[in-house]
């Protein structure tokens, strides 16, 4: 058994620990050493020191030197720091300070580590039992209190100076700063408090000042795109700065400060700069600059709305330009028609352009989509001249869908129609468009001028997608009527084969459902016998099939082929096939039996019973057109009630089949119809709303009605008029208890 010798405190300390370990350590630190190559203490040396400490701490009381050793551990470090490290640091300034500091810090880490290793046994038991800071932490604290707190102000200033130098384009020792940052982080002892309050706050403040100054310079000397380039570069640089040598937590705060000074504060000036601000960039199609502007201002809270407002103003101005130019053209005498394809194309092109800008430059951001929409709504509803934009757009579609119009590929047709529907979506008076479109569609369909049924359905499909099936119900109805007509005709033909009646002519009928089609003038013409018999046969057939329906013949529509024979000069017979409208056929057949005797206007009228405006058009087409089937006396180019007509004996033509065109009574649509429909729609909306809500104030009712009417925007006075009408018809009453309110009457 071996009872080890008791080590006395001072003996153990001075002879063993201090002499062999601490002094050695300090000397190595002071004189420098090759960090990489060697360990400071060989294992054997280290173990010895460790064991000494261990022994001194496990000796029985009163020889248990744990407390003393712990104290001396602290004192040693403090002494070293105060006497050796601090004076060195106080000598230095700026970069040199930082260098010295980092060196001393590195040293301290080493010292701390070894001191902890030497006295490690204390950590195991003594420290724990007495709830004391561990050796490691204690050593760190000493460094902080004695060294760090002393020099931190100077050091931070030096660091920031370096950062600013780098900002100005200088090259700095980044590693140096990084090491200092690492020190700061460590000084937080588990948190970033030291870093934040001793360094970061100052950094943010100085950054703010820096960029305040810089941005002022830039604003004064640069145009907006240049400024934005610099801004972008600066922000990138700051970001990489953080990544390189600052703590990652600084990044958002630093960028926020920079963004605030560089972008947020200067935003208005930049956007509105003459010649290079937002509107100028838009006007000059500066795509990259606009993209950059968007990128940068989207980083700033509320940065985009002012930009969107300028974009909206610009688009509105461009659109108003187009409208104004049209107005000019009309004022300087251009002939006004309900067609202006160049104008519509201009609007479509404008739309395309800015859809692309919003999509590409502004990443499809909803603020900008809204700006575009609002701008378009502003000017698309500015009608100039006699014809509304709704009508011009509808006629534009008419041209595309008509046969004999522009020759376009299927793709092009679809593209144009799609774009027109997009433009249409900005119209407030959509119901007006629908009415005009419907009329034009009817004309196309009935005059067989529609280029392609597929295209028609496609266009209706697009409108339906946008506005719902109620909007396109009638149009679809029209197409369906004609689709079914083919089957019905086949059916009728079958019936004819089986039936005993023989028709005087080839006869085909299109039955139109009244509600879908525009109202056509009903003309009570006196038909020639041949046609009368045909209509009678059909009517009987139809009535048998559909007992509850009533047929009304529309003679102003439809066409006929009239076979006629003329005697030529050589007394031979030449026959012709004239393709004419039904009305023309009626008039021509009226001349059968007149032979060579002239018939005056009144007699013709009595015979066929057509109203004057129709009759005159017909006679004009037969007597004053290219092919004069009738000879008129006098030969003037207008039809008067005093004219006389006779079959033109000298008529001849090389061709055999001839189409005789007739001027159309050009009523594009009935504006009264639109108004009536609106009246109905408003009243229906009011009743619906009041039925659901029972009582409502005047203002609320107006608001609800406006929100429910999708296809037009009535002015409040009109709604008020309808409300009064409904009061009169006792659907509502004024609420006797509440002024300005209405009550539903069940």
């Amino acid at each position: 058994m071996h009872s080890p010798k008791i080590i006395a405190l001072d003996e153990g300390w001075n002879n063993e620990i201090k002499a062999k370990a601490i002094d050695v350590l300090e000397e190595m630190l002071n004189n420098g050493f090759d960090k990489k190559s060697q360990r400071l203490f060989a294992p054997k040396e280290y173990v010895q020191t460790y064991t000494t400490c261990y022994n001194m701490c496990t000796q029985r009381s009163p020889y248990n030197w744990s407390e003393q050793l712990y104290q001396r551990h602290g004192e040693t470090i403090c002494q070293y720091l105060t006497q050796t490290v601090l004076p060195q640091l106080r000598h230095q300034r700026h970069d040199f300070l930082l260098q010295e500091l980092t060196k001393r810090w590195a040293n301290h880490k080493i010292m701390n580590r070894w001191m902890q290793k030497f006295f490690m046994y204390l950590d195991r038991y003594y420290v724990k039992h007495h709830s004391l800071p561990t050796l490691d932490v204690a050593g760190l604290k000493h460094f902080k209190t004695l060294v760090y707190n002393d020099v931190k102000k100077e050091a931070v200033t030096a660091m920031i100076t370096l950062v600013d130098a780098e900002r100005d384009g200088g090259i700095i020792d980044r590693g140096l700063v990084k090491n200092c940052v690492e020190l700061l982080e460590a000084m937080g002892m588990g948190s970033l408090d030291a870093y934040v309050s001793d360094f970061e706050d100052q950094l943010l403040a100085s950054t703010k000042d820096y960029y305040k100054r810089k941005s002022q310079e830039w604003v004064e000397s640069d145009d907006t795109p240049t400024y934005l380039e610099k801004a972008e570069a600066a922000l990138e640089a700051e970001k990489s700065r953080v990544q390189n040598y600052l703590n990652a937590a600084t990044e958002p705060k630093l960028l926020r400060v920079c963004e605030h000074e560089i972008l947020e504060v200067r935003e208005t000036v930049l956007l509105e700069k003459d010649g290079s601000g937002c509107r100028a960039l838009l006007a000059n199609d500066k795509a990259d600059d606009l993209s950059r502007m968007y990128r940068l201002f989207s980083r700033v809270p509320n940065g985009l709305p002012p930009m969107a407002a300028l974009v909206r103003a610009h688009i509105e101005a461009m659109g108003n330009d187009v409208i104004n130019r049209r107005e000019q053209r009309l004022e300087t005498g251009e002939k006004e028609s309900n067609q202006d394809p160049a104008f519509v194309k201009e609007l479509l092109a404008l739309h395309d352009k800015y859809i692309a800008v919003v999509g590409d430059q502004f990443a499809g951001n909803s603020l900008f989509q809204k700006a575009l929409k609002e701008a378009f709504v502003e000017f698309v509803n500015r009608d100039v001249g006699k014809f509304s934009n709704a009508e011009l757009m509808s006629s534009f579609c008419d041209r595309i869908l008509k046969s004999g119009g522009e020759k376009l590929s299927d793709e092009d047709v679809e593209t144009y129609l799609e774009k027109t529907v997009q433009l249409f979506s900005y119209l407030t008076d959509k119901d007006l468009f629908a009415e005009i479109y419907r009329n034009q569609l009817a004309k196309r369909l009935l005059n067989q001028r529609s280029a392609s049924n597929d295209h028609e359905r496609m266009m209706i499909g697009k409108l339906k997608l946008r506005c719902g099936s109620q909007f396109t119900g009638k149009m679809e109805g029209m197409l369906n009527d004609l689709a079914i007509a083919v089957d019905h005709q086949a059916d009728f033909d079958e019936h004819l084969k089986a039936a005993p009646d023989r028709l005087a002519a080839d006869f085909s009928v299109q039955v139109l459902t009244t509600g879908y089609w525009p109202t056509f003038a009903a003309i009570d013409a006196h038909l020639p016998a041949e046609i009368v018999s045909c209509t009678r046969v059909f009517k009987d057939y139809y009535d048998k099939k559909n007992s509850k329906r009533r047929l009304t013949w529309m003679y102003s529509l439809g066409n006929a082929t009239v076979k006629a024979a003329w005697k030529t000069a050589s007394n031979a017979k030449k026959s012709y096939d004239f393709q004419v409208a039904t009305l023309q056929a009626i008039v021509l057949l009226a001349f059968n039996g007149a032979d060579d005797k002239p018939v005056d206007y009144e007699q013709v009228r009595a015979r066929v019973n057509l109203p004057d405006d129709h009759l005159k058009r017909v006679l004009h087409s037969l007597a004053c057109g290219k092919y004069k089937l009738l000879a008129k006396t006098p030969t003037a180019n207008t039809i008067k009630n005093t004219d006389t007509f006779v079959v033109n004996p000298t008529f001849s033509c090389q061709m055999r089949k001839i189409r005789i065109p007739m001027a159309n009574l050009d009523e594009s649509h009935n504006p009264k119809r639109v108004e009536e429909d609106r009246t109905v729609a408003i009243e229906a909306a009011v009743v619906r709303i009041m039925k659901a809500r029972k009582t409502l104030s005047h203002q609320q009712l107006l608001a609800e009605v406006l929100s429910q009417l999708a296809f037009f925007r009535p002015n409040p006075k009109l709604i008020k008029r309808r409300i009064e009408a409904l009061i009169d018809r006792e659907y509502l009453e004024r609420d006797p208890d509440t002024p300005n309110s209405y009550r539903y009457l069940a």
Binding site: H698, Q699, P716, K717, R721, E724, R734, P739, N740
Partner: protein, 270 residues
Amino acid sequence: TRRAAARASSTQVRRASGAWLSEMPTSKRRGGKSGSSKKKVSKTSSSSKSSGTELSFENYADEDEGCVTMEGLAKLAEELGIDPSSDTRLLALCWRLGATKPGTVQKDEWAKLETCPELPTSKSTPTVETLKKGWQQLDPNFLENAEFRPFYKFCFEFNREGTKKFLERDTAISLLPLCIEDRSVHTKAFVTFLESKPEDFKLNRDQWCSFLDFSVAIGPAPEFQGWDADESSWPILLDEFVEWAKTQPELAADEKKDEKKDKKDKKKKK
């Protein structure tokens, strides 16, 4: 034929199915003639000198119509010694009786002479004398605004022609000031405004009733305090009236005068 004869001899009391005022004989001087050409009154009224002239339905009803018509009311007016074309108490009487068909009083309505507490005749057997004695209390001027409203509406309803839902322009022009009396500072101006409308202009119930509410809520010209062009839920006719009145500076002075006069009168009444 009997009817035709009667009509021929009665030039002034026509078959009244029309408005009160245009049909109503206006003065007593016609009283004598109308007395002689009275239509089928089954019971000859006992001499009006006797003090107990019963207000029986049969005395005043038109036999063909089966109800009291304008003629019957004219007769009553004569007996009461009042001018039926300007005395609104007669209208108030019909109102209290609950007359529903314009220009007429049905039998069951007439019977309310006995039962309606607001009528002076309800205390005993209704006679012309009791009615005459208590005639003053029928004055609509005594009614509070809340009670006046239904009476005012009645004036419109009663003066319509048959089943029509409006008043002709001229009827409205005469009737309105009569009914509304001094409850509105706008009456004169509004009447002038109506006069500027074409002859075939018609005033509907909503417009008539709203005029009263308008007069209560909206201040005199030219400010028309309380009227807002954008938020107004007044009938469009009244909006037009205000806008028209604003272009007539003379009216402003008048309205202010009337307002002052009304205030004086009200003070006097108290």
